[in-house]
Amino acid sequence: MKENIHKFHYKDIYFLLDVNSGAVHVVDVMTADIMDIFDGHNDETVIAQLSGIYKISELAEVLSELHELINKGQLFAPDIDVPPVFSEKGIVKSMCLLVAHDCNLRCKYCFADSGEFGADRRLMNNEVGEAAVEYIIRHSGNRQHCEIDFFGGEPLVNMPVVRHLTEYIRNREKETGKIFKLTLTTNGMLLTDENIAFLNDNNISVVISLDGRKEVHDRMRPDVGGNGTYDRVISNFKKLVKSRNDENYYMRGTYTKYNLDFTKDVLSMAKEGFDILSMEPVVAKDADYAILKSDLPRIFAEYDKLVDAYLQYKSEGKGFFFFHFNMDLSNGPCVAKRLSGCGAGHEYYAVAANGDMYPCHQFVGRNKYLLGNVFDGVKNTDLPQYFRNCHVLNKEKCRDCWARFFCSGGCHANADLFNGDIYKPYEIGCELQKKRLECAIAVQAINNMEK
């Protein structure tokens, strides 16, 4: 059955999310009880069923308020169909360049097989990188904002090409009027003073990888010789972040079955002085560290703990950003954006070192998803439309789910990995996503009420 109202609570605060309008209401317990019965039209049934518990006059008062919300379009808002603007063909505006299929770490959960992506270790050359930039310029139409992420493996392994392409892109910006947001995702091992200065001088946002506590990080992110890397990378990260005035970065970690108490890892990052944070669940099959369905209750409780800690730190003036709790409930993305999701395969491509294009970085090396290459363009012309159509209103499991306009239908790569079909979402991912969304809405609502 289609879920158009989602009710949940954090401690003794009850929330109603009106799925089709995006309205969030904080309600008292009586209203929460009424919403178990109320469908917008059945006032008499509500009163008949609850008059033994609540006064009829109070029930009538709540029902009056609920009807007021319905009239304002903030409760039981009408279903949303695919907006007309979405039928347009996708425009490629974002690329992930795998400048190095090589890495100086051997992270145990690496989806890229320590940078090899199932093939040989290799580095991207200038010619391939320039062709990728030109591809985006040619295929991004009137869109002004484009994005390129230098990724790997470890992109700093191939710093000469990163430098060359950055200069190339900044020149092409002047010639074309495009604005490129550049990011670079790094494990921190090669963040020398020289590299840091380059990243700062060229306004390149960085995503830096740390798993939290030293023992957690060192267990999963050893170097090639099997040695822990925490001490080396954290000093580099501190230097980097300080040099850019604590801005323009994201610190992201991965939690696994080994650290389901990951609140401690997020707080470890915060205590080390980082305050723009993300912590993601590992996605793995058949591994000791993989997250299983049976772990979910424990993880849900941990997210509640994280909310407690997040709010406590904020109240003490030590607040931090947590990616999954960031949400602008009044100015978030439009419906078309919510349907286009991550854009993989139709707005966002990944480019392998040899110039092959895939729907995203996680698909690199999965042959059936090869789109084409940066020199000859897309050869598998059905794939972009296949990905563009793979949105929440076209997926059986998504179209009735309350989270459908927040989650974008889950990660295609994970759906393919677990179910062999991008239209069948990865179930554990969905459950985690829903829990995180409840936490995010609760955090934002509490923040809003405190204003």
């Binding site: 009106d18 907006p83 603007v85 100015n331 993305p333 419906v335 995010a440």
Partner: protein
């Protein structure tokens, strides 16, 4: 209202016809490269 506090100004319905400029960031690029959450993305138009 006595029993209900609406904490945001809902806008989803109003963007059905007006959205889709596509200037916003690809969500997976925004922070972690493994997250496709769109709910926490920023609209470039209304920013």
């Amino acid at each position: 209202m006595k029993h209900i506090k609406t904490i945001n100004k809902p806008y989803l319905q109003s963007t059905i016809k007006t959205g889709g400029c596509g200037e916003c960031q690809a969500s997976c690029q925004s922070a972690c490269k493994t997250s496709c959450t769109v709910g926490n993305q920023v609209c470039e138009k209304r920013q």
